[in-house]
Amino acid sequence: MKNKRDLILSAILLIVLFCVSWFVNGELDSYIRRIVNLCLIYAIIGLSMNVTNGFTGQFSLGQAGFMAIGAYTVGIFTVPVELRANVFYAVPMNPLIAGIQMPVWLALIVGGLLAALVAFLIGTPVLRLRGDYLAIATLGFSEIIRICITNASSFTNGALGIKDIPPLNDVRYIFVVTAITFAFIAALINSSYGRAFKAIREDEIAAEAMGINLYKHKCLAFMISAFFAGIGGGLYGALLGTVDPKNFLFTLTYNFLLIIVLGGMGSITGSMLGAVIVTAGLEYLRIFDEPLEIFGTMIPLFRPGLRMVMFSALLMACVLFWRHGIMGTREITWSKLIAFCKNPLGFFKRKGASQ
């Protein structure tokens, strides 16, 4: 009964949100749409990072590399064939791929699959490492991917980057992709695989003793994470209209780290909230980069660079004082919302010992 009710409510919510995105697409200016799209894309990638870092407890810093794979797949295959010679003006495009052109949705899927494949290849040696070593190894691979992209000029145009990607600033399209990602990952986490992931996070040795194949599950989590990071990266490339290797430095991964830490590692709704706050926040924190005048006096500290200082200070504050983020490992579920509506204040009274 409850499950059916939840599903109907979720479906209604999705339709409502879709109509909202239709409205946003039509009525609001392209700057706002761009921000909204960036929020959604960051949400996808934040979710993908949460699958490994939050749910499976495997600290991976490789998102930027997988994003790059997705973005470049979209870049290479969606630029119209007639424009390619112009874009690849230094080293001509490799004839094997020069003629292939795909629509965006196909390129996204191919990009995701390619990223998942690379994750599989990387996962084999790397996933047997723990904690710090895994972080450094995945960081290293992210950089290796970037370095390979920079040097493989006939495929990726190297440092010159790919431009003239047909731009995608359609909120509805990106919303649909985000909704699909959300639904898939929610379903995954609530399935037996999801429970296996959480078991691995809590205590690997116990999980293995209970019969969970560690390697298979870690690899699966890693591949799914890479798949969605690839899709997110592809959308990112389409949104920007151009890609180049410098976009995908490992410092990009730090954005997503903040998103999942802020939202709560281990909460899907938390990552969505985190994405909105971080993306919108980065835009609004822009005021810190410009000189500020109050009552005609210049405040001396406000100059370019302050925004990122605040951003990194926020990350530090979050991890020091608010380790579980907004949601911790909890989710916003329909049951809780309905309970909230029925009795707003009583909702916050602690029942018994702990929350």
Binding site: G57, Y133, C148, M308, A313, L315, L320
Partner: protein, 306 residues
């Protein structure tokens, strides 16, 4: 085959020059790797901010000599002191509060600290590259036959070895060192035995940061361009060097540094077409080591107990 052209055509003089370059770079990596491995050995955490501490030390030196016109021998001492303090502050603010938290939080905090330092440097000093002050005594060129070496390149290995010996002495033959080793073996018992954990850990960071400062000074003289992101790649590579040699093992860090430095130079020397892939070399070696011998060349094998 054209690919091996570089290998086959290299003259003896070129090869000798490459070796000299490799040892020079290697000793620099080794010096910074020692600081990394110290902290990891005692605290079992990767101090992501180590590379950025090196960067801040370079800026301190720049300010001391170029802006405030303090003679270089005084400035360098000041830089070491200031950097050691910086290290202690970072430990106090970013790592101590999380000592009882899960490992992942400390890692995120380290990443956050590193990121904060980079952005702070970018904000305070602007992203424009500055020039590390030139010390003519140390940057002059010396020619040995047809091989050219900078004076500083002769100094660095000496300093590395001295630092290594001093550090080994401290760790193995002093009370503080004994306390450090106790903390690294078993943190809880050490506390129960009356060792002041906070002080020992602060001391570790102070020594590690002082080493970073020395490394920074050497680095700055050798490669004079200072930017806020100068610590990133060396930080990663020196960590990899420490892992290659056996993380936690000071001699291993020196060995790892030389392996990495020589390897990088020789790869480009023998295969010039791969010069763009040079940074990838360090990461590939890391993967190989973690795959086949995760405790590093000089590390001890440990089994994880339930």
């Amino acid at each position: 085959m054209e690919f091996f052209q570089g290998l086959l055509n290299m003259s003896g003089a070129s090869f000798a020059q490459h070796m000299v370059n490799g040892i020079s770079l290697g000793s620099l990596y080794a010096l910074i790797a020692i600081g990394y491995t110290m902290v990891y050995g005692i605290l079992l955490m990767i101090n992501f901010a180590h590379g950025d501490i090196v960067m801040m030390a370079c800026y301190f030196a720049y300010f001391g000599i170029t802006i405030f016109h303090v003679p270089w021998y005084f400035t360098f001492i000041g830089v070491i002191v200031a950097t050691a303090l910086l290290g202690a502050v970072i430990e106090r603010m970013a790592y101590r509060p999380l000592r009882d938290a899960p490992k992942n939080s400390v890692l995120i905090s380290a990443i956050g600290a590193s990121f904060l330092l980079e952005n702070l440097a970018n904000y305070l000093f602007s992203g424009r590259p500055m020039s590390f002050p030139d010390i003519p005594l140390l940057s002059q060129n010396i020619a040995v036959g047809s091989i050219k070496i900078q004076a500083i390149s002769l100094v660095i290995p000496v300093i590395t070895v001295i630092s290594l010996l001093v550090l080994l002495h401290i760790v193995n033959h002093t009370k503080t060192g004994m306390a450090m080793r106790a903390v690294s073996k078993d943190y809880e018992i050490a506390r129960v035995m009356g060792i002041n954990i906070d002080n020992i850990i602060s001391m570790t960071f102070i020594i590690g940061s002082a080493l970073a400062a020395i490394g920074a000074i050497m680095w700055g003289i050798r490669y004079p361009g200072i930017t806020p992101y100068l610590g990133v790649m060396p930080g990663l590579k020196c960590f990899i060097a420490a892992v290659i040699g056996g993380i936690g093992n000071i001699k291993g860090a020196v060995l790892g540094g030389f392996i990495l430095g020589l390897g990088e130079i020789l790869i480009v020397a023998f295969f010039p077409e791969l010069s763009g892939y040079r940074d990838a070399f360090a990461f590939i070696v890391l993967i190989i080591i973690l795959f086949y011998r995760p405790t590093g060349i000089l590390g001890e094998r440990t089994t994880e107990k339930v």
